[in-house]
């Protein structure tokens, strides 16, 4: 259950949305993407209601542990999502994205033949197909090996360099630390901390250096949660 969630995401930043299991990260993301509706309140994206086509035209979304149409090839899958964005030059867009996520050679394979890492990359590709201004990634690093995580992190940083705003949830704190500008911590459906990563890590700790992981554990313990 979420309570009084209020988040402002700045344009062009990478925002890490962190919290223990069951804290409400995925529920928040589902509300932002219009998959569920809040009991009360409003969610706007770029000033438009989340469920409007205008808002959806500007977002790209990768769900947690995504499953895709397993009998479609990688190329067909991306083409479907490109057409849903009404891209006239979808052929070029699909081709260049497949190359960018390193799946050009596997584009003719059906998705059931893809590895976990390949699925995550084609998932990112479908999120990017409409050249979104806001990229929402739910646990994009979970279940990946170190190479897979590096590839996804690189893609996130490339998008950031292009000026895309990125909102992502993660359990993998060292990786989140490597790519985030700001973070928000959610515990039991409530946002307990939001701010600039460097400032937050200094706030309220005695040691000079603290990792995001150590800081996160402190924050959760401060809320009286066992982890």
């Amino acid at each position: 259950m979420l309570k009084d969630i209020s988040l402002d995401i700045h344009e062009g930043e990478v925002f890490g949305f962190l919290g223990p299991n069951g804290a409400g990260k995925t529920t928040t993301i589902k509300i932002i993407t219009g998959l569920i509706r809040p009991d009360s309140g409003e969610v706007d994206i770029f000033g438009e209601a989340v469920n409007s086509l205008a808002a959806k035209q500007r977002i790209g979304f990768l769900p947690e542990s995504p499953y895709f149409y397993e009998h479609l090839t990688g190329h067909e899958f991306l083409k479907l999502h490109a057409l849903l964005h009404n891209l006239k030059d979808y052929k070029e867009r699909v081709r260049s994205l497949l190359e960018r996520v390193g799946l050009a050679e596997a584009m003719g394979l059906q998705l059931r033949q893809y590895s976990r890492g390949m699925l995550q990359r084609i998932g990112i590709a479908q999120a990017l197909v409409g050249s979104p201004d806001l990229l929402i990634l739910d646990e994009p690093l979970t279940g990946l090996d170190p190479i897979g995580r590096k590839e996804i992190k690189d893609l996130i940083l490339e998008e950031k360099a292009k000026g895309t705003t990125i909102f992502f949830s993660s359990h993998i704190l060292p990786d989140a630390e490597a790519v985030c500008d700001r973070i928000g911590i959610i515990i039991e459906g409530k946002i307990v901390q939001v701010g600039d990563l460097a400032t937050l890590l200094k706030k309220g700790v005695k040691t000079d250096e603290i990792s995001l992981e150590e800081w996160f554990v402190q924050q959760v313990r401060n809320q009286g949660k066992d982890i």
Partner: protein
Amino acid sequence: MHRVIAILENTFKESIRQKILLLLVVFAILLIGISLFLEPFALGEASKIMRDFGLAAASLFGILTTIIIGSTLIRKDVEKKTIYTVLSKPVKRSEVILGKFLGLSALVTLLVLAMLMMQQLVIFAYEGAFDPRLLIALPFTIIEVMVLLGILLLFSSFSSTTMTSIMGVIFFVVGHAMPDLKLFADQAGVALLKYVAYGLYYVLPNLENFNLRIELAYGLPLYADQILFSICYGVMYITFLLYLTTLVFEGREFK
């Protein structure tokens, strides 16, 4: 409309590549094959029985494919979360429903057409000539398939796959028992029973409206008013079912 076509194409490809379809095609070929061996049992009526049996087989094949694939069409997308990426795109939920409906309808149309063509080949092998009049059965079989698919989509937008397929079979059986229900209503002695039976008769889909098998197999005449009524009835029923499905699906939350 381009978004509906994109989903139509996706549904068509995803469905045609399912292994279960291969089984159904083998079953269909077997059904048509059986009609080759009917002659010794047909007591001189082989040509009519071959036609009747072939039309029934094509219709049954279309219905079975629709129930088996149609009952998982939305449910599987929701359970496997494949619907999440689609719904996060600038697409209306009604377009998703329509695209899926048209995609599977297109596939079943192709399959039933292929089966009717096989039947034509069997007739040609026996009689040295085709009987193209039998192809009139195609649009009516497809309207029946679409009505049933509308029912399956409606149930699968809120119910489980098993329940949806059971409802599909029930509506298919009941839909073809409508003349019996009408007879029962006409003859029922108890007023309440009579009203209930009439109520069900007018509300439930009368799939016998799309059954021209006897007329086509036995060379009986077809009447324009009967054909027109069947088409209008089918189109109205399908529109109503798709509208209801969209209403349910629009309100659906994906927790």
